[in-house]
Symmetry: C2
Subunit: 415 residues, 2 copies
């Protein structure tokens, strides 16, 4: 029997209003939205003004409300709402990846303490049920990697970019179509994908790391020549969120990658998202769907609500039992390019495989110590484009510095 849910909804944008529509008008679920709290008093909304409240206490202090659905943008405000709701013994469904990524350990402890469910499928890859699958289906023992195209805006830009439009033109297109925020930094620089990756790593491997420990390199500095290079080699550039288990370590990063035709990512175009999960015996599973936008997000929220009616909660079993540790040091094969050949020296390569130089474009391919790359480096030098090259060959071995063992450069290729 489905549990009756009385919902307090924070936020009434596209997702919130879609959710209202299906829950209160269809009568399909034994769940209804009792109270809606929004921030802006003056905004025009599709249902009459008397449905809205502006004080969060109206929901948080209502004992009849047993589920808070939080669909607002502001991560700090979301954090306060979610923690207060949990402390009031209410279940919570949230889509706020940034807030979740920054506070995951605390939120898990809190929801355990107050014995409520805290679900957030909508926070990662919209309609793709990847958290639930990692949590319920893929055993930590056999899982070896999770990679994804987790950001629709950058994937849209990279898809259109293959047609040689300029970055700015494409970004304007994407904004017009609603795929990109007015301030696209979170998307373009890979922060959005990084928050999602951090949540994926938690549910895949039971390892909770901090967003600042995951390197994110975005697509802001991509040049037409980089796209040209990819095309000549039969590759595509995609912004990949990647995590992998190597021995008892887990590594993760968000960066552009040159992907081959046989990659899961090659045919994932426009605003689509995809996640691939690799596990012992099962080879690669690919989950593809729409990752952004109101309806895909609403569908994930609905699934969480539906699961809550049967008392579902994430159990974080992997977190309790894992022996894995997150590691920031390893070697990678990368591609850097610049309009200024001198700038290529900003990155210290362990080994250089190829260099190319012309009047207005130069690139270098080789192996670098991953820990020498940083988001700051990429932001400080807008002429420097960094990509991993290519998928499936970028990892060589973990740097074993802590053991004092000197990395044998000659063996870098032996993986």
């Amino acid at each position: 029997m489905r549990k009756k849910l009385t919902i307090g909804l924070f936020g009434f944008g596209c997702v919130g209003s879609g959710l209202y529509e299906i829950l209160n008008r269809s009568g399909l679920f034994n769940a209804s939205i009792k109270t809606i709290v929004v921030k802006n008093k003056d905004k025009k909304r599709p249902i009459p003004q008397e449905h809205f409240h502006f004080d969060k206490e109206v929901i948080l202090n209502d004992p009849e409300i047993n589920l808070v659905v939080e669909l607002i943008d502001d991560a700090d405000a979301a954090y306060e709402i979610v923690t207060r709701a949990i402390r009031s013994g209410k279940h919570v469904v949230s889509a706020n990846k940034k807030m979740i990524a920054h506070h995951l350990t605390e939120l898990i402890d809190l929801k355990n303490q107050y014995k409520v469910s805290f679900l957030y499928e909508a926070s990662v890859c919209g309609s793709i049920p990847v958290i639930r699958n990692l949590e319920e289906y893929y055993n930590n023992d056999t899982l070896s990697s999770v990679q994804g195209i987790c950001n629709g805006t950058t994937n849209y830009i990279l898809t259109i970019g293959q047609r040689r439009k300029s970055f700015d033109e494409i970004l304007t297109d994407a904004q017009r179509l609603g795929f990109a925020e007015t301030d696209p930094t979170l998307d373009i620089d890979g922060f959005d994908a990084k928050f999602k990756l951090q949540i994926l790593i938690a549910h895949a491997f039971g390892v909770i790391t901090l967003p600042e420990d995951i390197l994110n390199i975005g697509i802001r500095n991509i040049k037409i020549q980089d796209i040209q290079y990819a095309r000549e080699k039969g590759l595509k550039l995609k912004l990949i969120a990647s995590s992998e288990k190597i021995g008892d370590k887990v590594i993760g990063y968000v960066a552009p990658e040159f992907v081959k035709e046989n990659s899961f990512a090659y045919d994932v175009n426009y605003e689509f998202n995809a996640v691939t999960i690799e596990a012992a015996f099962s080879d690669r599973q690919v989950f593809k769907g729409k990752g952004a936008g109101s309806f895909p997000t609403a569908s994930a929220v609905l699934s969480d609500i539906s699961a809550l009616q049967y008392d579902y909660g994430y159990e974080y079993r992997k977190k309790e039992t894992t022996q894995l540790k997150y590691q920031k040091e390893f070697y990678s094969r990368i591609f850097i390019s610049s309009t200024n050949p001198d700038k290529l020296n900003l990155i210290d390569f362990e080994q250089v495989e190829e260099t190319f130089s012309s009047k207005d474009y130069a690139y270098k391919i080789g192996t670098v110590d991953f820990s020498k790359l940083s988001h700051q480096l990429y932001r400080d030098h807008p002429e420097l484009f960094i990509a991993f090259f290519p998928e499936g060959e970028h990892l060589f071995r973990l740097a074993e510095k802590r053991d004092g063992e000197k990395c044998n450069k000659k063996n870098l290729h032996s993986r």
Copy 2:
């Protein structure tokens, strides 16, 4: 805490031996295979002969064994093993789609009566966790269709077929590579896909139908000209298992379909399987992975074993609450072709849209009453190739014969 599982294993082919390897040698799972029962005493096997028993009672009468994993081919023998194991209070994991499809209602009643779990993720699309997702993630209220490429052998044949090899050559190739059984009837004629579809319909919509109520048309009669036709139109032929909710009815069939480039099926090639699930708001989700073979199957068996350690069982909530009924009558847009133009008259069209005729090849496209198609018709006339044409437009409206309402042919296109 993971429950300890003591396993009795039936069958030691590729899947069984892979499972043995990971469970007994890796020590990763708190589960071990105590007894293996096989049929053939003389077969050479990768582990010493003393590990094998030949009498099923050794497992069925052992009270220490709390899980039976059934991985044999013979559906009748599997039925006896599974029902006896359940009656002995043992959990069961099975991969036998034929046995499950034929006895599902009875098996559900039985496992409820004896309060054990009966899991069978491996029976449908190998490593793709589609049953679990339908069971746990996709609410019946919002789900609208499930379609899949569920048979690796036929997909391999159709993929290679685009290169204009003859059907027999390709089949021999597929057998050599291990994708096709020596007797490929189950695959080629769509029975294997139909059994899987029947299981998918049960978990998607809560409707348990019988395999004989689902039309299966295979790819046996495909001609080089049919492939040529598809190529000219920018389409591909794929064997699709399809189920859809229309109002309070569910329809289902397995048949070749001409698919367009934007179809989930277009880029699913060789032995790969894929399933697409359509639900309100979420658009189409696509799950892609290897559907056949020992490792993908073993991975699904492993996931079931892992879930059992946390007392997981299918709850069939949709079956308890659904108002949907399975319906065999509806109208479809089909393509039939023949080397003999007269044979095209064997099927009575409601409406003909196109006809083509030449010395040695003729086809007709139009609308037919689905209930006039039959597996027998297709088997009796090997010169007759039948395909649905094209995906997404083949359904017009349910035939409303039971209400005595005459189907208005003029409105067939109005959907």
